[in-house]
C-alpha cells in the first residue's frame, strides 16, 4: 500500500511537469494551448532523433533541444497565439486545435505508427530502483522526475516573484495596456512567456520519452492529463499544479488497482469531482485570481 501511494505521488510529479507549461501560458497569456501535448511529443521525437544520430544521452540532448523549444515557442506565439488572441480566446482554441491535428499527422507521416522510447538511451536508469526494504522499491527515474517537477515549478515561482522579467510578465498579465504606459513591451514579454512555457514542454517531452513509450498521436492524452492536473490543482499558486498532479497520479494509481481501465477512469472522476467542488463553492476561477484585469481601481 505504501509503495502504491508513493508510486502515485511520484507519477504526480510527472503530471506536474506536463502541466507546468499549460498552466503558465494560461495564467499569464490567457491562452489554452490545445497543441500543448503535441509539442511535448515533438520534443520527445527530437530527443530520440538526436540520440539515434549522435549517440549522446538524452540528458545532454536537452541542452540542445530546450533552446530549440524556446525558439518554437516564440514562433508559435508570433504566428498563432498573437494573431488569434486579437480575435478573442475562442479563436485561439480553434487555431491551436488545428495546430495539434497538423503536428500529430506530420509526426505520423515522418515516424510512422510504431511506438518509440528513449528508455534504451539512458542506461539502467529506466529500470533502476532503490530498495527501501519490506518490498518497497522506488524507481529512480520517477524520483528524478518528481524532483525535476519541483525544480521546474519552483523555478517558475522564483522567476515570477523575484526576477525583473517575472515581475514584468505578471504586470503585463494583469493589465497589458498600463504595462505599455510604464515602458514594458507587451509583445516582447509575451514572446518571453511563450519561450519559457515551451522550455517546460521540452522537459515534459524528455520525461515522457524516458519513462515510457510514445506514438505520434500521444499528444491528445498528454493534453488531457496536463489539463486535469491544472484544474484539480485549482489554485492561483504555482504549487497548485504540483498538488493537482499528485492528486491525479494517486487517483489513477489507485483506480488501476480496482480494474485495468480504472487508471484513466479514476483520474477523470477526480477531475469531475474537482469541477463539482468548484461548482459548489461558486465560480472560483483560478485564472481570475492570478491575473484578473481591472479597468480602474477606485
Amino acid at each position: 500500500m505504501m509503495g502504491l501511494l508513493l508510486q502515485g505521488v511520484l507519477l504526480g510529479g510527472y503530471y506536474a511537469i506536463l502541466a507546468a507549461g499549460l498552466a503558465f501560458l494560461y495564467s499569464v497569456m490567457g491562452i489554452i494551448n490545445l497543441a500543448h501535448g503535441a509539442f511535448a511529443v515533438v520534443a520527445a521525437y527530437m530527443l530520440l532523433v538526436l540520440s539515434n544520430l549522435t549517440g549522446i544521452s538524452p540528458f545532454l540532448g536537452l541542452a540542445l533541444i530546450l533552446p530549440i523549444m524556446a525558439i518554437i515557442g516564440v514562433i508559435v506565439e508570433r504566428t498563432v497565439f498573437e494573431p488569434s488572441n486579437r480575435g478573442g480566446p475562442l479563436l485561439a482554441v480553434l487555431a491551436t486545435f488545428g495546430l495539434s491535428v497538423v503536428i500529430d499527422n506530420l509526426l505520423f507521416q515522418q515516424f510512422g505508427a510504431n511506438t518509440k522510447t528513449l528508455a534504451n538511451h539512458i542506461g539502467d536508469l529506466s529500470w533502476a530502483s532503490w530498495d527501501f526494504g519490506g518490498g518497497l522499491y522506488v524507481g529512480k527515474l520517477s524520483v528524478y522526475t518528481f524532483f525535476a517537477a519541483v525544480i521546474v515549478l519552483g523555478g517558475l515561482q522564483l522567476l515570477l516573484t523575484y526576477a525583473p522579467v517575472g515581475r514584468a510578465i505578471r504586470a503585463t498579465a494583469q493589465d497589458s495596456d498600463t504595462a505599455g504606459l510604464i515602458g514594458l513591451d507587451a509583445r516582447r514579454i509575451r514572446m518571453i512567456s511563450a519561450a519559457i512555457a515551451f522550455v517546460t514542454i521540452g522537459i515534459a517531452g524528455a520525461a515522457l520519452g524516458m519513462r515510457a513509450s510514445f506514438t505520434p498521436y500521444a499528444g491528445g492524452a498528454l493534453l488531457l492529463f496536463a489539463f486535469q492536473a491544472t484544474i484539480i490543482g485549482g489554485t492561483h499558486r504555482v504549487w497548485g499544479t504540483l498538488i493537482g498532479g499528485v492528486i491525479l497520479g494517486l487517483a489513477q494509481t489507485l483506480g488501476a488497482q480496482i480494474a485495468p481501465q480504472g487508471f484513466l477512469i479514476g483520474g477523470n472522476l477526480v477531475f469531475f469531482a474537482a469541477l463539482f467542488i468548484r461548482l459548489m463553492r461558486g465560480n472560483l476561477n483560478w485564472r481570475k485570481l492570478i491575473s484578473y484585469k481591472q479597468r480602474a481601481m477606485s
Partner: protein, 242 residues
Amino acid sequence: MNKLEIRDLEVCHGLLKAVRGINLNVQAGEVLAIVGANGAGKSTLMRAIAGSHRASQGSITFMGQTLGDLPAHKRVGLGLCLVPEGRRLFPKLTVQENLTVGAQIGRIGYWTVEKIFEVFDNLVKRRHANADTLSGGEQQATAIGRALVANPELVLLDEVSLGLSPAIVDRVYSILPQLRETETTVVLVEQDLGRVMKVSDRIICMLEGRIVLEGATKDLTRDQIIEAYFGLKPNAVEGAET
C-alpha cells in the same frame, strides 16, 4: 525651448472626433494645466501624447523627435510618462513591485524606488501590500511614484485628485515643487479650478475637443476660465439666447 509640440492633432473614438485640431506647445520645466468639462477630450489628448491612443491626424514632437506611431513603451524610454486616469496599478503586485517594475525601463536619475518611499512616507508601511488593498490616496501616490521612477522629462498627470479627499490631494500635489526642482515638465488634467490656479504656470481650457482658451495663469481670471469651460460667450452669460 519647447519640450512638446503638438500640431493639428486629431484623435477619434470610433466615429466620434474626441480631439480636433489641437495646436499646443509645452515649454521645458513648466507646469501646464488642462481644464474642461467631462467629454471635452482632455484624457484622450493625454492618451494620444502617451501613445496609448492612436492619433488620426497631426503630429506630436517630443524633444525634437516626431513620435508618429511610436508605441507607448518606447515613448517611456524617451522620457514621456503618463499617470493614467483611475491609477491603473497592477492589482496583484505589491507597492514595492509596482514601483520596481516602473523603474525597469532603466532611466537613471533623481528618482529611485527608495526616494519615492521617502517622499510618500505613508507608503512605507504598505510596502509589501498588494496594490488592490490600498486606499485611494495610497494608490495615487504609488501610481505617481511608478511613473516618476522612470525619471521622465515630461510627466502627464491625468485627474490625480479624482475621488480623493482635499487633505490627501494636498499630499499628492506636494510632489510638484520637487518636480520643478528636477526641471521635470508637467502636464496635468485637473477638475479643481482653485488647485489649478495655485499650482500651474499656464492653463488651457478645452471644449468639445478644441482649445478655447489659453494663457498664463497669472493673466487669467477665474471667470474667464469658467466662461470658456462652459462654452459661454462673455456677453451671453446672462442672456436668454444662444
